[in-house]
């Protein structure tokens, strides 16, 4: 169910209390996410990306805004992103060059070529990479939030789940466990209208993902996922509530996956007009720009500067790593355990 595509450009909610510096910082991350992905597409076409490429076009707003509502930095909040939460990771401090290296499987990538795309962590900065198996990160984040609770640390764990991912047993078990334990955890349910080619009506029989929260005894809210302020506000409220020991909160963001599941997917199953409507009239970045400009909190020139800065950063990051080498073959062996330190090199490699 698509949202009415045109939005009233209301003034910025006072509650948001965002300084123009902050507004520009948010814009920076929105732009960085989109520009970095466009760069990845270019590299993908040049076959420099090893595996698949996953876009978050149209979802940058909810990713950036939800992460921006967290306390960032050492021993602060922790989030676990999905493949379309590149923006969330950038907000938490992931570097463009790290993303580029991951996609190109470079030796110096965060996982040294072992894992793909955004599957990497920096718990110091506050993000835990996902694994492919959907739903698994919910119990894991519950365990992180449990640690915060046991240690009485004023920290919150935030975890994303797609409309499709909510059908997994691990989503259910993890969310129920967190709810019973009243853990400081916030779940962002991304209603982006598709799970690969599967629409919501074939995924669940409720109208909103927020309805699912009722089965866990936790509060939920549904917000316009392409309204940066709405997502930021809702997340900030939920995070602070969780921080005060009030337990789990579920936030549904209605948004739209404007690209295919991955670059190879031609989206033939997507109604063209629906796609057109979301892109022309409900782009989260366009809407954000309108809002902050019309509120006279920033000037065109500020945004232009950021666009230039982002382009330069992405160019520099690309140039810095595009010709880096892949990992040495035998670096595949160490680190399965602390002890033994490396897997055996098999006999036939040395006969």
């Amino acid at each position: 169910m698509a949202l009415p595509a045109t939005r009233p450009t209301a003034a910025i909610p006072a509650g948001a209390a965002l300084s123009s510096e902050q507004l520009l910082e948010i814009y920076y991350y929105l732009r960085l996410t989109r520009t970095l992905e466009e760069r990845l597409v270019a590299l993908y076409r040049q076959t420099k990306v090893i595996g698949g490429l996953f876009r978050s076009l149209g979802q940058e707003g909810e990713s950036v805004a939800s992460a921006y509502a967290l306390e960032r930095g050492r021993n602060k909040d922790i989030l676990s992103p999905l493949i379309r939460n590149l923006g969330s990771m950038l907000v938490m401090g992931a570097q463009p060059i790290e993303i580029l290296r991951q996609y190109m499987a470079k030796a110096d990538s965060p996982t040294r070529g072992r894992e793909l795309n955004v599957h990497f962590n920096d718990l110091e900065k506050g993000y835990l990479g996902q694994i492919s198996h959907l739903g698994d990160m919910i119990p894991v984040m519950a365990g992180i939030a449990l640690t915060f609770k046991l240690r009485r640390e004023p920290r919150v764990g935030l975890v994303y789940i797609g409309d499709g991912g909510t059908s997994t047993g691990t989503f259910h078990e993890g969310l129920n466990f967190a709810a019973v334990q009243r853990l400081p955890m916030v779940v962002i349910g991304e209603y982006n209208h598709w799970a690969y080619s599967t629409p919501p009506e074939k995924q669940f029989a409720v109208r909103d993902l927020a309805d699912k929260a009722k089965g866990y005894g936790i509060p939920a809210v549904t917000v316009d996922g392409n309204d940066v302020f709405a997502v930021y506000e809702a997340t900030r409220f939920a995070v602070e509530r969780a921080r005060r020991g009030k337990g789990v909160h579920f936030i549904e963001v209605k948004t739209y996956r404007r690209k295919g599941h991955a670059e190879h997917d031609d989206q033939h199953y997507v109604p063209k007009d629906e796609l057109e409507q979301w892109s022309s009239q409900n782009d989260p970045v366009d809407r954000y720009m309108q809002r902050i400009l019309s509120a006279d909190m920033v000037g065109e020139v500020d945004l232009k500067d950021i666009d230039d800065r982002v382009r330069t950063e992405v160019d520099q990051a690309t140039d810095a790593c595009v010709n880096e080498s892949l990992p040495e073959a035998e670096t595949a062996l160490p680190g399965v355990y602390v002890d033994p330190p490396a897997a055996d090199k098999l006999w036939f490699k040395s006969v």
Binding site: G113, A195, Y196, L326, K345, L346, W347
Partner: protein
């Protein structure tokens, strides 16, 4: 008379299609199998031909997919459940090993389901889109595991699996999907018996036992050894991993007296161990050398080409290993 050349994937598709045409009890369920035709297009066009009620798009719920297939099978249907990638079968591990596989034995319930999906590496899929689950299910009385390596068997085994009275795990290597082609006879119905291995290459000096993608790498190695070393290598394609074809295994061992087991899966706990144990028990006296294994290294499969190529067994590794064993 020979038909057009088809790929492994097309042969699998034909097999599924023919069985659905033949038997209306057969239906498909899985993620994105309907209109979209599945992540690898194996069921492309099926929902148009057979309707949404026989090609069911499911939520992302592997345990429910397998469990629902089991319930339908109890009632007389013939469900074919697709795992979008076989890696996700781990989410249905309980349902398959505890509910499905034991049903006939503990309760006399017929559960003729097929669970199929793309497995294996060599495609830069990383640790969660490249797995080889056979060893995890080898230990499951009540389940059958088939693993076609050829275009013909892709078709013959999917048809046989659908007709089998018991649950079958059908593993299809995505590296083979579009890489190998073969002409299949038209008119004649292709059925590959479950439980029977296939002698893929005759030889005298040494036997390689393999299946799936590494079957092809083994054949390549065998040709090289013939050419470069004059070593005559026999290659056995297992085709069915559970139950194993002990007779075929023992026969080739007794013929060549040396055996190299090659699989793509990680070494420790891989199926080669079971095969080695059986050879020991049934053909120990015929062995002129140790049963050796060429397998993946014991690590989760990494993404970078350099790493994946090193971790997974390559043709050269098989050549070196076979050379060593031949000289033993």
């Amino acid at each position: 008379m020979a038909g057009a050349e088809v790929t492994f994937l097309e042969a699998l598709r034909q097999g599924l299609w023919e069985e659905m045409e033949r038997d209306e009890r057969v239906f498909i369920l899985g993620e994105d199998v309907g209109l979209y035709g599945g992540a690898f297009k194996v069921t492309d066009g099926f929902s148009t031909r057979f309707g949404e009620s026989r090609v069911i798009d499911t939520p992302i719920s592997e345990a429910a997919i397998v469990g629902a297939a089991a319930g339908a099978a109890h009632m007389g249907l013939r469900p074919v459940a697709e795992m979008q990638f076989i890696d996700f079968i781990s989410c249905a591990y309980d349902m398959l090993t505890n509910y499905v596989a034991t049903a006939r034995y503990r309760a006399g319930l017929a559960t003729p389901i097929v669970v199929r999906g793309p497995c294996g590496g060599y495609v830069r899929g990383g640790p969660f889109h490249s797995q080889n689950p056979e060893a995890a299910f080898l230990h499951t009385p009540g389940l059958k595991i088939v693993y076609p390596a050829t275009v013909r068997d892709a078709k013959g085994l999917i048809k046989a699996s659908i007709r089998d009275e018991d649950p079958v795990l059908y593993l299809e290597h995505k590296w083979l999907y579009r890489r190998i082609k073969e002409q299949l006879p038209e008119g004649e119905e292709i059925l590959t018996p479950i439980g029977k291995a296939r002698l893929a290459r005759e030889g005298k000096h040494l036997s390689i036992i393999s299946y799936g993608a590494t079957l092809w790498k083994s054949l390549e190695a065998a040709d090289k050894l013939e050419k470069d070393d004059g070593v005559s290598v026999e290659v056995l394609d297992l085709r069915t991993l559970l139950p194993l074809d002990d007779d075929a295994i023992v026969a080739t061992v007794k013929k060549t007296n040396k055996v190299l087991i090659v699989h793509e899966d990680t070494r420790t706990g891989g199926i080669a161990g079971e095969i080695a144990a059986r050879i020991n028990e049934k053909a120990f006296e015929w062995l002129d050398g140790p049963i050796m294994r060429v397998t993946a290294h014991d690590v989760p499969l990494p993404y970078a080409p350099t790493l994946e190529d090193f971790v997974l067994p390559q043709t050269d590794d098989i050549v070196k290993a076979a050379r060593w064993l031949a000289a033993y």
